[in-house]
């Protein structure tokens, strides 16, 4: 019997339209996800059809898979209720349990067979033109089958069990949708909160095993990623076991519960009462029928009456949605999850526990946004087709009510329903914020902006409801409406997330800056750009609504051609005029945004930017070997106008030709948005002999040739102003923003010669642009030219200088050096900074609204410049700063500065900067940390001490611009900071930090675009020195002893004080000083071992 049922079900459904459509969509998803995962792994040795990419795909499953299961599976049982076939089918002599088993197995098999589309899609990847042949290898068929077996089969079993158990228990198809969505929410939440730390609970709770697949994949080498079978770790097996058990339990519950009598008698209890009442009522009211039908009510069909109907209907529809228990259950579950997230998960969202500021409590809109929007879209689709679904359309469509009243009322109702979510999110946020002691920091304006606005809040929901409205109007089919609208929504997000689409003006309802709230400056410029994007989408949404009204199929479904008749009167003339005006407004806003983002703010697609960089390298690569003078002294006067994103400045730069050659031409690379007013060389105004304004490089002849060991004076008068607005932080003018400006002086001053910042460093991108792959991202140790140039600024000597910087009256200006003077003129604040001792030219400036807290220590004056509201840890920072300066002074030597400023900067910038007299920490590096726990204490100690140590290294080591430089720049200061933490907080605190560093290293090393180098030859990838390098040094310090290590190092440093130093030299010195073979081997292993080659490296 079971076999017969399965055979019939598969025959009748497998080749149906829905199955084939989903199969094809999954083929597409297989291709599309593979590309996305490939982009996620930046390492150029990873193949696009590598095994680990496919494992990740199978584990994720994808939204189309989930939607497919939700739609396809429930029908296996529900169709007998839906089409009332159960009334006769269930009278047949079929064993009930066999029937259930047959339907369950056929539903599961159907899912599995359709899901093979995903498999085929992945197989097709090499043949659809996604990349050159070199990025594809042989298809890892065995690994793919393995992935399908360990992920797809159990995950589909889980989803099938969830859907069919829900359908059996609730006897509603919608119950299946809801519970599948909840599984997806669980998955999304687990993925969102997993963060950087390995948390076994999250990995077990992840229903699809995706987090583990992802985590295991991250720790694999490129070769393993391409070819290896996924390691079945204990956690992995446990995860699979847990979810298989849950799936089986659901299956058993459904199996036991299912019976024909139970399943078919949906309304048995409800129908008994009316029948009794009817029979009683019959006799009583029979006499009434003899009375005349005389009551004639007055009728009104005025516009006012229709508006009143719109309100009444909206209220009625709203009540109809919120009344059922199903809605209350879904709402309750979501709110509970938001509550839990606010109470538990936000606390570890960033670096560690944070104080309860409002921005933490509006994050739920991002975590749950995708799900909420999907569910709202589904409800909207159901509501718009409600009359057709319940088959009352013939009655309702024949009523004398215009389409705009009935359909708009539904739009309003579903908008009201989504408002419930947003309002509850606000209430839960306020309550949880208060519970966590953040009552004083409640920012109602931010709650409203985030949760009711267009930053993935309520207004975003409305935009998506409008989209459904439009799609419903043009398709006239509920199923297609769901498919197209949800499909578009997911595609929209994923395309931008993957970088397949880059211009937000083409992503309906997307606005810039969603995740870019700064506790220092709010959304900053993104408030402006998001506003204009929203206005544009709002105009399109209204067009969608009007078109939805115009095309809504009233009455019997008619052909597309018939319904796409603009002449029909469903939308009146006024509506059509409004629509035409809105089309004009939308087109203008598209242009306006294009003008501001692309033209004024110089946005370019990644491929364009890469092509430009490649062209720069091709054209001007020769400059790498052309002798140029170097910065030797700087006098800068710069006036900042933050509110205008503008700076006007004059720079006087002393250039030195320290080479043996005579120089006749000066090559200057400027940054974008600069307008050079005047360039003088040795007091003579000069014009460029050639310029490439596309590549931002200018060439000037010296008035008289610059001989060896002579200097020249370069004077620059320029103005910089950013215009337009950005669409992402990548395009943002960070050095000149309304509040929180911060940037390198090189944003204003030229790079001399060849600008290595413009080189494409990722080998995959280089290959795409036809450039030779790099064996090292910075010069090799043997490079004779660069071994005598500075790692911080190859075009500069160590320099002295003075910066006079002014800003508006509300802000303070920051620069490198001692603050020697400050004054006010014409309502502007002026600051004079002087760098009196020669320093590497890696200086920054900035301007912000900050409060200053000063304290003197025996080792120097400490000032903390912080956002006024972020005063939570100021006392603690002072304490740590005092200890850190003492640590540096006592262990390394005199702290190089008599005054030091710890400055808070927005999170757009890197975590931390150290430059003369300044340590700049971004807002997420502890300013808001809850420092009651050891983890956060350790983090703050470590981050401040590391920057203080960097100050010492910057002033005491002339680090050559060759491989291994970041061991001095970063690794050793970080290791010393770990030692500082050990001394201050104990070994356990250090272990916590080392675990974090190890996690970062494990995660990032195989994502290294060019392959991980050994530490000795590190070519400065972002992750290596701070994680593996710091741990390696710390281990050696612990092995040889801190004092002994210091003594060796300081001795070596004194011997090389006035020389350019290379890490490789210190490494050999360490080896020579090592007292045992074991110690020597340890040093070799730590610094000169690459897993890529599995052997010690010789460069």
């Amino acid at each position: 019997m079971i076999a017969k049922i399965i055979k019939f079900e598969l025959q009748s459904r497998l080749f149906g339209r829905t199955s084939i459509l989903f199969f094809l969509m999954l083929v597409f998803q297989g291709i599309w996800y593979t590309k996305g995962t490939y982009d996620y792994y930046a390492n150029d040795a990873v193949l696009m059809n590598g095994a680990s990419i496919f494992y990740r795909n199978f584990a994720g499953g994808g939204m189309i898979m989930v939607i497919m299961v939700a739609i396809v599976t429930g029908t296996a049982l529900y169709k007998d209720l839906q089409h009332k076939t159960g009334y006769w089918l269930f009278t047949y002599p079929i064993p009930e349990k066999a029937f259930f088993l047959g339907r369950f197995i056929s539903g599961y098999l159907l899912n599995v067979l359709i899901a093979t589309g995903y498999f085929f899609g992945m197989l097709l990847v090499p043949y659809v033109g996604l990349g050159p042949d070199s990025v594809f290898g042989d298809a890892p068929i065995g690994q793919m089958i393995h992935g399908f077996i360990i992920f797809s089969l159990p995950n589909l079993f889980l989803l099938t069990s969830v859907v069919l158990a829900s359908v059996v228990i609730f006897k509603r198809l919608a119950a299946g949708y809801v519970f599948v969505m909840l599984i997806v929410v669980l998955f999304i939440v687990m993925e969102s909160v997993s963060g950087t730390n390995f948390n076994p609970i999250l990995f077990l709770v992840d229903p699809f095993g995706f987090l583990l697949a992802s985590e295991i994949g991250k720790t694999m080498t490129a070769l393993e990623k391409n070819t290896a079978y996924l390691e079945m770790t204990d956690y992995f097996l446990l995860n699979r076991l847990v979810w298989l058990s849950i799936s089986t339990a659901l299956f058993v519950v459904a199996y036991r519960k299912f019976s024909f009598k139970y399943f078919i008698n949906k309304n048995q209890k409800q129908t008994s009462l009316p029948n009794q009442v009817t029979s009683q009522a019959t006799s009583k009211t029979t006499s009434k029928t003899t009375q005349p039908y005389a009551f004639i009510p007055s009728l009104s069909f005025s516009t006012k009456a229709y508006l009143q109907k719109l309100i009444n209907l909206s209220i009625l529809e709203f009540k109809n949605i919120v009344r059922p228990w199903g809605f209350k259950i879904v709402l309750g579950i979501i709110l509970l999850m938001v509550l839990l997230q606010n109470l538990l998960f936000n606390a570890t969202y960033y670096i560690g526990a944070q104080v309860a500021v409002t921005s933490n409590f509006t994050l739920c809109r991002l975590t749950f946004g995708v799900f909420i929007i999907m569910i709202v879209m589904l409800w909207a689709g159901e509501l718009f087709f409600k009359d057709k679904t319940v088959k009352i359309w013939q009655i309702m469509d024949a009523l004398p009510v215009p389409v705009w009243v009935t359909q708009l009322s539904r739009f309003v109702a579903i908008s009201g329903v989504s408002l419930i979510f947003s309002v509850f999110f606000i209430l839960i946020g306020i309550v949880t914020q208060t519970i966590q002691g953040g009552a004083d920091a409640i920012d109602l304006k931010l709650y409203v902006y985030d949760l009711l606005g267009y930053n993935w809040g309520w207004l975003t929901y409305l935009l998506h409801i409008a989209l459904v409205f439009f799609i419903a109007g043009i398709t006239g089919n509920r199923f297609i409406t769901h498919l197209v609208s949800i499909g578009y929504f997911i595609g929209n997000i994923i395309f931008f997330d993957m970088g397949i689409a880059e211009e937000l003006r083409f992503g309906y309802a997307l606005v810039p800056g969603l995740e870019d709230y700064s506790n220092v400056i709010g959304y900053g410029i993104f408030e402006t750009s998001a506003f204009w994007y929203f206005v544009m989408w709002a105009s399109l949404a209204i067009i969608f609504i009007l078109l939805g009204i115009q095309f809504w199929g009233r009455g019997s479904v008619t052909s597309f051609r018939h319904r796409f008749n603009f002449a029909s009167s469903q939308l009146n003339v006024s509506g059509k005029i409004v629509m035409v005006i809105l089309v004009g407004i939308f087109a203008y806003l598209q242009y306006f945004i294009y003008e501001n983002v692309n033209q004024k703010n110089h946005f370019e697609l990644e491929v364009q930017a890469n092509a430009n960089d490649a062209e720069y390298e091709r054209k001007y690569g020769y400059l790498q070997t052309v002798t140029q003078p170097k910065y030797d002294d700087l006098q800068l006067q710069i006036d900042l106008f933050p509110e205008q994103n503008k700076a006007i400045y004059k720079a006087k730069i002393q250039l030195e030709n320290a080479s043996l050659k005579t120089i006749d031409t000066l090559f200057l690379n400027f940054k974008d948005f600069l307008e050079i007013k005047k360039i003088s060389l040795n007091n003579k105004v000069v014009e460029p002999i050639w310029a490439n304004e596309e590549q931002l490089i200018w060439a000037y002849l010296f008035p008289s040739k610059l001989d060896s060991n002579t200097v020249a004076i370069l004077e620059i008068e320029a103005e910089k102003q950013y215009e337009g607005f950005p669409q992402s932080p990548d395009d943002m003018a960070l050095d000149l923003i309304a509040n929180g400006s911060f940037g390198s002086l090189r944003e204003f001053l030229p790079v001399i010669g060849f600008d290595t910042d413009k080189m494409l460093k990722e080998n995959r991108k280089r290959a795409e642009q036809g450039l030779e792959k790099l064996s090292s991202r910075i010069p090799k140790v043997a490079d004779k030219i660069h071994s005598k140039s500075d790692i911080y600024a190859p075009d500069a000597n160590w320099i002295t200088g003075k910066v006079i910087i002014s800003t508006n009256s509300q802000q303070v200006a920051i620069s490198a050096g001692n603050l020697t003077k400050k004054w006010k003129v014409n309502g502007r604040n002026y600051f004079e900074y002087q760098v009196r001792q020669k320093s590497p030219f890696d200086w920054y400036l900035g301007s912000s609204e900050l409060t200053i807290s000063a304290q003197n220590t025996p080792f120097g004056k400490v000032e903390i410049w912080h956002h006024t509201a972020h005063n939570y840890n100021i006392v603690y920072y002072h304490e740590i700063m005092g200890k850190a300066l003492k640590f540096v002074s006592q262990n390394l030597g005199k702290y190089p500065f008599s005054e030091v400023r710890l400055v808070e900067i927005p999170f757009y910038y890197d975590d931390a900067y150290a430059f003369p007299n300044v340590i700049a920490l971004n807002e997420k590096q502890g300013w808001l940390a809850d420092t009651s726990a050891i983890d956060e204490k350790a983090y703050l100690h470590q981050s401040i001490a590391a920057e203080a140590c960097k100050h010492w290294f910057q002033q005491n080591l002339q680090i050559a611009n060759v491989q291994g430089a970041d061991m001095w720049q970063t690794a050793l200061p970080e290791a010393l900071a770990l030692q500082f933490v050990k001394e201050q907080l104990g070994e356990q605190a250090v272990r916590t930090l080392i675990t974090k560093k190890q996690t970062v290293y494990n995660r990032e090393r195989h994502n290294d675009s060019n392959g991980e180098p050994p530490l000795l030859y590190s070519d400065s990838p972002d992750y290596l020195a701070k994680s593996k390098g710091a741990i390696a040094f710390y281990d050696i310090i612990q092995t040889v002893g801190f004092q002994e290590f210091l003594q060796n190092f300081l001795t070596w440093q004194k011997n090389h004080q006035n020389n350019w130093v290379q890490f490789v030299d210190f490494y050999h010195s360490l080896l020579n000083l090592s007292t045992s073979k074991a110690e020597r081997q340890k040093i070799e292993t730590e610094f000169n071992f690459s897993e890529k080659e599995s052997t010690p490296q010789n460069n």
């Binding site: 309304n267 409800q270 129908t271 009462l273 009316p274 029948n275 009442v277 009817t278 009683q280 009522a281 019959t282 009211t285 029979t286 009434k288 029928t289 003899t290 005349p292 039908y293 009551f295 004639i296 009510p297 007055s298 009728l299 009104s300 069909f301 009456a305 009143q308 109907k309 009444n312 209907l313 009625l316 109809n320 009344r323 059922p324 409600k386 679904t389 319940v390 088959k391 009352i392 013939q394 009655i395 309702m396 469509d397 024949a398 009523l399 004398p400 009510v401 215009p402 009935t406 009233r554 009455g555 019997s556 008619t558 052909s559 018939h562 009167s569």
Partner: protein
């Protein structure tokens, strides 16, 4: 007051010709539209009720061109479709009140009065607070009747209205319709001949999208006066009679087969004359068409 249907034709995308040049003039009172399943009755009803466009032809009522101004017709229309559903989560009273509002009864007091009256008339008053998904098929049908009568409809279209009603409720409905039909046009679409003969003063028979016959039930019945004959036969003889005579119907009575034949004269001595009924006329019309 008259509904003028002229040259109405409709072909569905699958090629079925649902209406073929249908022309009818329907005056005040009950008008019966009789036809087999799939004859085109519901298509015609939906077209009149502004729910479907025709390929050709016009429908006018009281000066309203219903294709050009469907909204005007909807203001005076009461429509009960053949099949309909209800919103599951609302009560009959709520939904009727909502529909009354949609039909233009904006005064809440009046709305409530009419809803209550109709709930009494269709015998649903006691269960008016009950959710509609708890209603039986007959109760839903009575609800449908009530909604069609809301407002002040001048044109009432009821498509298979007595389906699912027990005899008591069917009678109640007949009474209600005949009261209403005194001042309005009521179009009753059905395949139950008795409904038409009981209620309608005018009627049409429709088959394969064409109007086959129009007139009053009496006229149509009388047109067969003296031409309807009946005979008891053996079941095995049916085929032979069908080949030789104009057999419009056959049925069993007391275990024996009775055939009804149309003929100008007595076919043979075993036949007896039958007083013509509307059903005979209906079968005759369909037989002639085929």
């Amino acid at each position: 007051m008259a509904l003028e249907i002229k040259n109405l034709s409709k072909r569905y995308p699958n090629g079925v010709r649902a209406l073929q040049d249908v022309s009818l003039t329907i005056g005040k009172g009950m008008f019966g539209l009789l036809g087999q399943n799939g004859a085109g009755k519901s298509t015609l009803m939906r077209t009149i009720a502004t729910l479907q466009d025709a390929d050709k032809g016009t429908v006018h009522f009281e000066g309203i061109d219903t294709f050009k101004n469907p909204h005007e017709l909807r203001q005076i229309l009461g429509y009960l479709p053949q099949e309909f559903g209800v919103y599951p989560n609302v009560s009959a009273e709520e939904l009727l009140s909502h529909i009354a509002d949609m039909k233009g009864i904006t005064n809440p007091q009046e709305r409530q009065e009419q809803v209550e009256e109709l709930l009494h008339r269709v015998n649903l008053y006691k269960v008016r607070k009950k959710r509609l998904d708890g209603y039986s098929g007959g109760m839903k049908q009575r609800f449908g009747i009530a909604q069609a009568l809301l407002g002040d409809p001048k044109l009432i279209i009821v498509d298979e209205p007595t389906a699912g009603l027990d005899p008591t409720e069917r009678n109640r409905f007949y009474n209600l319709l005949s009261e209403i039909g005194e001042n309005t046009i009521v179009i009753l679409s059905t395949h139950i001949v008795e409904d038409v003969s009981t209620l309608c003063n005018d009627m049409a028979i429709i088959g394969e999208g064409e109007v086959l016959l129009t007139g009053s039930p009496e006229q149509i019945e009388q047109s067969l006066e003296g031409k309807v004959w009946e005979k008891q036969i053996e079941k095995s003889e049916l085929e032979s009679y069908q080949q030789n005579l104009h057999v419009i119907s056959y049925r069993f009575h007391l275990g024996k087969m009775l055939i009804t034949v149309i003929a100008e004269d007595l076919p043979d001595g075993d036949f007896w004359a039958k007083s013509p009924t509307l059903e005979d006329a209906y079968f005759h019309t369909l037989y002639s068409k085929n």
